[in-house]
Subunit: 462 residues, 2 copies
């Protein structure tokens, strides 16, 4: 099935694998943690690295664009007159790396072990951006051209909700004009199951601060007369769900649709062994809404999770205080039709309503990412499926993901663009966690997939 | 009322106030945080400082004694043949200083502002130990002798439950033999209300660890199928009390006695304005068991407080994870007749029973400090009341304290010794919290009180 010119392209990308790994290591070495203001300069350096890599790939334009927040790296090759244009989206910012002591090798000094490269951002999303830059480079070096026009946007705020990205899209609408968006920031269903993602969950989040006494108090002197902020926060968080794992915030599920019988049957055909998955994750058993399939809970049901919490003494031994305050970071994954603003308001109102007396509760709500469903019927999706079959030797299945890519939501809602979600991460890549890795087999097959993808899209969209 | 020789003693301590302040600053500068293993050498230096200060006071013996944990400073002057012997107890270890950013001046660089000295350990308990060393020094310098035999024990593990102190007492029983124990590690009821403390609460504590997935998980990929350890911990903590602030752990209140009508009436006569106290503490209103008087809740009712809690992401911004684990530090203040072992077992059992499915819960229980009631009828207590009236110009009232002094419990239970609890801290000293301070008026009147105390005790006990 490989077209003659494809042989040369594949030969090129196979011959350069070591260099791609070196490039990925160098990029990972830039700790572009968008959530931490201390790392703002690193996020900028990471954007500059991306632009430099775009130039190396042969893109004729390669610049760092300001957004008001962390910058975007933008590149383009527009030499295919009369041909369609694709916009490739990825992100160069990364999640925080803590807890650092749980990493086997340092998060920003990437190391290859057993056919995997370990480092923060290895698969989410620097490695997946690099797949495209390597594939573009192959076309431009081997053929001197690409089969269609390519624009590449590598964002710097994806891990913090892409706060400035919609304004950037609106401002750069002309520059970013295209026929289809290609996003590689997702995972396949399993190592032997190449997959295209057709639905993503949305995301909103809250920071709940419970304030009690002006200072930490001695728990002996004042224990018994002051409401403990950690106790109050625990009571608030415990009030969010019932014993069956269902969120009891009024209105939370109002806009949530049930799966159709066809969709439910499709989900049921995908292999998932709850006991095996629980064992892999290290939990005694799976949890959540007990009446629904695990994959339904992961992809098509909204969630409400405590992502972090702190208050009082956290050091060695004990410190017998009533803490002055307690904080919880909470987030919700949303499913199609849920309105982020409505969900934010419902939870904020509920938290204030159930807050016990004797403390003051502040709730800040953030984020505005709707869930997305992409059309499976678009010719670009069929083209992507063919490219993936060529790259991985097996036709892909269609899956959902419980994750969120804010810009996918923005492209959908603001620009009404068709999108192809073609990512090659594995479910156990530990993204957002210690020991994030990218399997080299997935990385190299991903590069080959993208090399095919541009030809397939050129044919499908003409 | 001042005896002729007392004039000279009081003259001496008044003339040396600046030096006492310098000494207190130097002692505070040694960060003797017993809870933090990193500070073990500092706790030892603090014991050595105490022994050096004992020598300066004129004690003929002054040594650092090993305990198996942090050391004790011990000193004695036994030149009053045929006279009674008192044992003065205090502690030289301090609470951790965090959160550091809430201190106006650094916790270990003490600063005098507005007639108060600010620093960790200023009043709890280095400053109060120094009152005795200054008073002893005055007797020995002015008169060349003390009116009775004095032994001084300054311990290094009071803030972590005095783990090795009972074994130390047992081992050093002969060396520590005495007629009465004098403890200055308590506060008065209010600035104008000198007080002697006749009851203290006990203390036990727990560390609850909830373990979920082996690693932090991406809350998008896994949200909906894994029990969140922070959610589980919040549910456990919320299950400990009912809506009226009453602890629902079966058996928790089994051995708790109700106050007699006389005791309740006495408590009711002490001035306490709940709205004013709430305002001083910075809370919207007082909380706790609503059917009982605030002072009863503070002194004569057991508590269960979350002293600290952590899990997941605590940095700036958000990190959308399901954390691998969550930890809470919980402690209970006990009242007379409660058995620490029984309470520890009851709470541990309850926590395991209410733990939700899908996580593993570990509970470690520590501490063994019973509550104490001292006899008001002992002649030493009357002597202490006279000394306090001389030092503060006003007869003291008898009060309880919600706090805990483990060694007071040990002296009571192991050695069956009468004790005088004569401390001069103020309720707003912020002990165990940022900006701990010692009011200089209380400090200097405290030194004068102790100067009188030895004469009064010599007379009362002969």
């Amino acid at each position: 099935m490989v077209a003659p010119h494809a042989d040369a392209l594949i030969g090129h990308v196979r011959a350069n694998r070591d260099r791609y790994l070196d490039e990925l290591k160098a990029w990972i070495a830039v700790p572009s943690i968008s959530a931490q203001p201390d790392h703002a300069a690193d996020v900028r350096r990471s954007a500059e690295y991306a632009a430099e890599r775009m130039r190396l790939a042969g893109l004729t334009e390669a610049v760092v664009l300001e957004t008001g927040g962390h910058p975007v790296a933008y590149g383009a090759w527009l030499g295919a007159k009369g041909k369609p244009t694709i916009l490739i989206y990825g992100h160069h910012d990364v999640q925080p790396a803590d807890p650092l002591d749980l990493w086997t090798s340092p998060p920003f000094a990437a190391e290859v072990r057993n056919g995997k490269i370990y480092g923060r951002g290895s698969v989410d999303d620097k490695g997946q951006c690099l797949m495209h830059l390597a594939a573009i480079e192959a076309h431009l070096r081997v053929n001197g051209k690409l089969p269609l026009n390519v624009k590449v946007v590598i964002e710097g705020e994806e891990e913090i909700g892409s706060e400035h990205f919609e304004a950037f899209l609106a401002r750069e609408k002309k520059r970013l004009a295209c026929d289809v968006v290609v996003v590689s920031d997702t995972a396949v269903f399993a190592e032997d199951v190449p997959s295209l993602t057709t639905s993503l969950r949305g995301l909103v989040h809250w920071e709940i601060t419970v304030r009690g006494p002006a200072n930490d108090l001695h728990s002996g002197y004042y224990g018994g007369i002051v409401k403990n902020p950690l106790e109050a926060l625990a009571q608030i968080l415990a009030a969010l769900k019932d014993a069956h794992g269902r969120i009891v915030v009024p209105g939370f599920y109002d806009d949530v649709s049930e799966l159709s019988p066809h969709e439910r049957a499709e989900v049921a055909t995908l292999p998932l062994d709850p006991a095996k998955l629980a064992n892999e994750l290290g939990v005694p058993e799976l949890a959540g809404e007990s009446a629904r399939l695990p994959l339904e809970r992961m992809w098509f049901r909204p969630t409400l999770e405590v992502n972090g919490m702190y208050g009082g003494y956290q050091g060695a031994g004990q410190k017998t205080i009533i803490p002055s305050f307690a904080v919880a970071k909470v987030s919700a994954r949303l499913v199609p039709h849920q309105d982020p603003a409505r969900v934010k308001h419902a939870v904020t109102t509920f938290v204030q309503r159930v807050a016990p007396k004797g403390v003051r509760v502040e709730v800040e709500a953030h984020g505005d990412v709707r869930a997305v469903e992409t059309s499976r019927d678009h010719p670009a999706v069929a083209a992507a499926a063919r490219a993936m079959e060529l790259g991985f030797g097996k036709a892909p299945v269609f899956i959902g993901t419980g994750g969120t890519i804010g810009p996918v939501s923005s492209f959908d809602r603001i620009l009404h663009l068709p999108q192809v979600l073609i990512g090659v991460g594995l479910p156990d890549d530990a993204i957002h966690a210690p020991n994030e890795k990218f399997d080299l087999g997935q990385f190299f097959s991903g590069i080959e997939t993208m090399t095919y993808l541009y030809d397939e899209l050129a044919r499908a969209l003409k």
